[in-house]
Structure formats: C-alpha cells, structure tokens
C-alpha cells in the first residue's frame, strides 16, 4: 500500500533539512533519584532506523522523550530537523511534533475516544472534513491489518491490537520521523512478530526515519535481517544472510552509550559486557 496520506502538505518546504534528522550532543538528564543519561551523543540520518538496546532502566524511554521534546535535558543540545529543541518554547514544539509520529510503550490511546477518533486525532484537530478523515482512517487501519476495529473503543481491544492502533495513529499523517517506544513490550512472541512486520513494512515501503526501543534482541535482529516483500505482502529474510544497511544500533547501559554502529559491528564486538548482553 502507499502512504495513507502521501498527499499531505507537510513538511513545509522552508523547514526542509538535508542534515541528520536527530542530533544529540553531550546530552545529560537526571531526576530526583540521580542522573539517568550521561553525555549521550549520536545522530540519526534520513531514512535510517536506529534501534535502541539496553537493559531495563537505562533511560531508553527518557532518551526517546528527549528526542520529541517531551522532556528537556539538563545539559547538552538536541537538534531535530535542524532546529534546536532543548531551548525551543513548548508552543513551537507543538508545530514541530506534527512532523513526528510516536508509538508509546503502553499504546497511550485516548480511552474516551473510539479507535477511529484516536487514529484521526490529528486530522480532527486540524479540522479536516469527517468523510476525508474517515477514508484515511480506513486506509491506515487496513495497513495495520485492523480494519474491523474502527468503531471499537480501546478498552475492547487486546494489547497487540492497541499497539497496532497506536502505530496507525502515529503513521496516518505520513510523519518524517517515527519513534517506537518498545512496540513489542509485554506482547506474546507471535503478536510481537506481527508488530515487527509492521515496522519493517513502514521502513521499507515509506522509508521513514525511525528510532525504535526494544529489549527483545530477537526483534532487533529480525529488523536488521528482514525486508518487506511488497509483491507477496509479507516480511521475508534478506537473501544470502545480508543485513539491512539502513538499520543501525545504539546500546545504552547505566545511562551511557556503550555501542553505536551497524549490525555487523554489533555482532563482532569485542566489548565483554556487550558480548554477554547479546549472548
């Protein structure tokens, strides 16, 4: 399928930026209980998928919220689409966030709204005609293989279905950047695979720049070693044991970056901690 809303007007031409989509430069943040992230630096280029790995509680979700301006760093700078967001007023951030789609760890669907209203949330906010929004919601729900759920409420859906609705809500506007916060967290292996399939489909069909958190190594390697076959409409392994060139890894431990690089570098690392983590 093509982008549900390939004809959307965004991004505005003057905001086009040819440099990296996200740049973190020596970013640190702490809360009452102490520092969470220390001197984090990395960048994410157009069309790349960066997989964020690391044990629980290392600040992966915090990093993702920093990337979206939902949290502000204590020090360092964060650049998004070429604009500094760590000092940007919240009012301007709202505009910038319309170019980003985010899938939350627990889906974070609005439970007082139906699936249709959840998915069409941005369109309704922008005052799009209901018929047009409905058509786009139908398209995107078909993309996430959940067309029958359109009239349901989040409380009537299973965990996997909620996650798919959450993905639909994030991709419906055709964002330039997608943030997935543990999209497979708490799901059974079969449902996890269907979610990863969706991520691969979005990556290979729309080539959206993505940042994805996972604690399941298996999912991370599936992403790196599989591609989307548009003809057969299914995910399949890359031939001859190849890996996806656009997929890169960032591994965090105790609030610091311990590895960043591609799949090949990750599996051939010499770092003893990383070896043990990957084992």
């Amino acid at each position: 399928m093509t982008t549900p809303n390939a004809d959307q007007t965004q991004p505005e031409p003057e905001q086009k930026n040819d440099g990296p989509v996200i740049v973190f430069d020596k970013v640190s943040i702490g809360f009452d209980r102490g520092p969470v992230l220390k001197d984090i630096s990395f960048s994410l280029d157009h069309g790349q998928t960066l997989i964020l790995l690391g044990p629980a509680g290392t600040g992966k979700s915090v990093l993702m919220k920093l990337a979206n301006g939902l949290l502000r760093p204590d020090s360092g700078s964060i650049t998004l689409f070429g604009q500094r967001i760590d000092t940007m007023p919240e009012k301007d951030l709202f505009k910038l966030r319309s170019r980003i789609g985010m899938v939350f760890q627990e889906s974070a669907l609005f439970d007082s709204l139906s699936v249709e209203d959840n998915v069409a949330y941005r369109f309704n906010e922008d005052g799009m005609a209901p018929e047009e929004a409905h058509k786009k919601v139908e398209e995107v729900l078909k993309f996430v293989a959940l067309p029958e759920a359109i009239e349901k409420f989040p409380s009537e859906l299973s965990g996997g279905m909620r996650r798919r609705v959450s993905i639909a809500r994030a991709i419906i506007t055709g964002p330039e950047l997608l943030l997935y916060d543990s999209p497979t967290g708490g799901l059974d292996p079969i449902t996890s695979t269907t979610i990863i399939e969706l991520v691969v489909k979005q990556r290979d069909v729309e080539h959206t720049t993505s940042l994805l958190i996972t604690h399941r190594l298996q999912d991370a390697f599936t992403l790196a070693t599989h591609c989307w076959n548009e003809k057969d409409s299914k995910m399949e392994p890359l031939p001859d044991g190849k890996v996806d060139e656009t997929t890169r890894f960032l591994v965090l431990n105790e609030g610091a970056v311990v590895f960043q690089g591609d799949t090949h570098e990750l599996v051939h690392t010499d770092d003893p901690w990383l070896k043990e983590y990957l084992a």
Binding site: R97, M102, F110
Partner: protein, 258 residues
C-alpha cells in the same frame, strides 16, 4: 529535621509556582485559538447539568432548616416575621455560594483530578503533547470556563430553591403568611448582597477547576497516585473555598458596608 523542613518548604513553593503557572496558562488560553467548544459544552453538561440534582437538594433543605432554626431564635425577640429576611440573606450571601461550591468541588474537583490523573499515568497526556496538542488548552481551559460559568448559575438556582424551601417551611410548619415571607425576603436583599454571593461563586469556580486540574496533571505513581490526587484535590479546593469565602466577605463588607 532542618533538611526535611527545607525540602518540604521547597516542595510546597514549587507546587504553588506550578499551580500559578497552570492557572495563568489556562486563563491566557481563553484569549487565543484554537478553542475547544465541544469540550467546553460537554464539560458544562457534566459539571452544570450533572450537579443540578445535588445542588437543588442541598439548597432546598438548607433553606428549610434555616427557616426552622431561625424561628426559635427570632421568637425570643418577637421577630418571627423576619424569617424570610434571615433565610434569604443567609442563602444569597453565604450558604448558597459556599454549599454549592463545596458540593461541586466534591463532585467535580475529584472527577477532574481522577480523569486527568488517569490520563497522566497512562501517558495519554504525553501522547496528546506528542500529537501536537497543548493539554492545558484542550483539557484545563474548557474545564475552567465550564466550571466558572456553570457554578455561577448553579448558585443562583441554589439561592432560589433555598428561599423557596424556607417559604415552604415558614408557611406549612411555622404558620407564617406567605406574602409577608416573600415581602421581607425581597425587601431585605440589597444589590451588594447578590454581588457578594455571585463573586464568591466565580472565585470558587476558578478554584475548583484549577485545583482539580492541577492535581490531575501532576499525578505520579500509578493508580495509587490517582487516588491520592483525587483526595488532595477535594481537600485543597474545599479549604480554599472556605478561606476565599472569608476573604471575599471581608472585602465586600469594606466595599458595600454590609
């Protein structure tokens, strides 16, 4: 001990600052778009129409009991005919606005805190921000407008049914003349009394909405946190209503002299 006192003070001052900022943002949002009219109307329905039964019941029986109690006291001075005056002044200046505000606080400050609190702990507030919507504009401002607007009219209704309740008791139980009751009621009410009562309603409405939303938006710690936020919202808004009642009464006495 000194350290804990310091951190306690810091925490409270921080909360006061957050509350002031939230209230200021909620008010300034009214003067710029986008405005969420459908949210405003649905909140008006839930806060105003939803609170109508308890406000009518409370107002009516307060008026009844006021007439009943005042009769014994007034009889000592041979002033039973002034029952209507006492009921109407007490209702319009004091009991109507305060009791209505306390009822709405118990019903809606808790409702706002628990609703927004649940949204906060399930990351729905963050999701809203991530989708490019200002949660203060979408969630707090409509509740503020709806509460201030509806509490104003709920107070008028409460005053009216309170006076009617007083009339019913005076005529049926105290054998007073209905015309006399209504005449003294009308004659004793001055412009300043009505302004005083309705000013209290406006301030109480502001307090209920901002306190309820503040505790909701700052909820932390899962479902237990939602429960805590709800309790705190009702306690703080109720206490603030009583304190504001005193302050406004004092200011009005200085202004109108009654």
């Amino acid at each position: 001990m000194a350290f804990s006192l310091e951190s306690f003070t810091k925490e409270r001052l921080g909360a006061l600052q957050e509350y002031s900022l939230l209230s200021a943002r909620a008010v300034t949002n009214m003067f710029s778009g986008p405005r969420y009219w459908s949210d405003i109307f649905s909140q008006m329905d839930s806060i105003g129409v939803g609170s109508l039964p308890i406000v009518i019941l409370t107002g009516f029986f307060t008026g009844c009991v006021l007439a009943l109690q005042s009769e014994t006291a007034l009889q000592e001075f041979g002033a039973v005919s002034r029952t209507g005056s006492l009921v109407s002044l007490s209702m319009v200046k004091e009991l109507g606005p305060v009791l209505t505000a306390l009822m709405v606080s118990g019903r809606n400050a808790s409702g706002m805190a628990s609703e927004l609190g649940s949204m906060k702990v399930t990351e729905q507030i963050d999701a809203m921000r991530a989708l490019g919507t200002d949660p203060t504009r979408k969630l707090v401002t409509p509740r503020l407008i709806a509460t201030v607007f509806m509490l104003f009219f709920l107070t008028i209704i409460s005053d009216a049914v309170g006076i009617a309740g007083g009339a019913l008791v005076s005529v049926t139980l105290l054998n007073l003349n209905a015309t006399m009751y209504l005449h003294t009621t009308y004659a004793s009410l001055a412009y300043g009394n009505i302004v005083e009562g309705l000013t209290k309603a406006l301030f109480s409405g502001f307090t209920i909405a901002t306190v309820g939303c503040f505790f909701g938006m700052n909820t932390e710690g899962g479902t237990q946190g939602v429960g805590r936020a709800t309790t705190q919202a009702v306690v703080v808004s109720s206490v603030m209503i009583i304190i504001l009642d005193f302050l406004i009464s004092r200011a009005m006495i200085a202004f109108f002299g009654t």
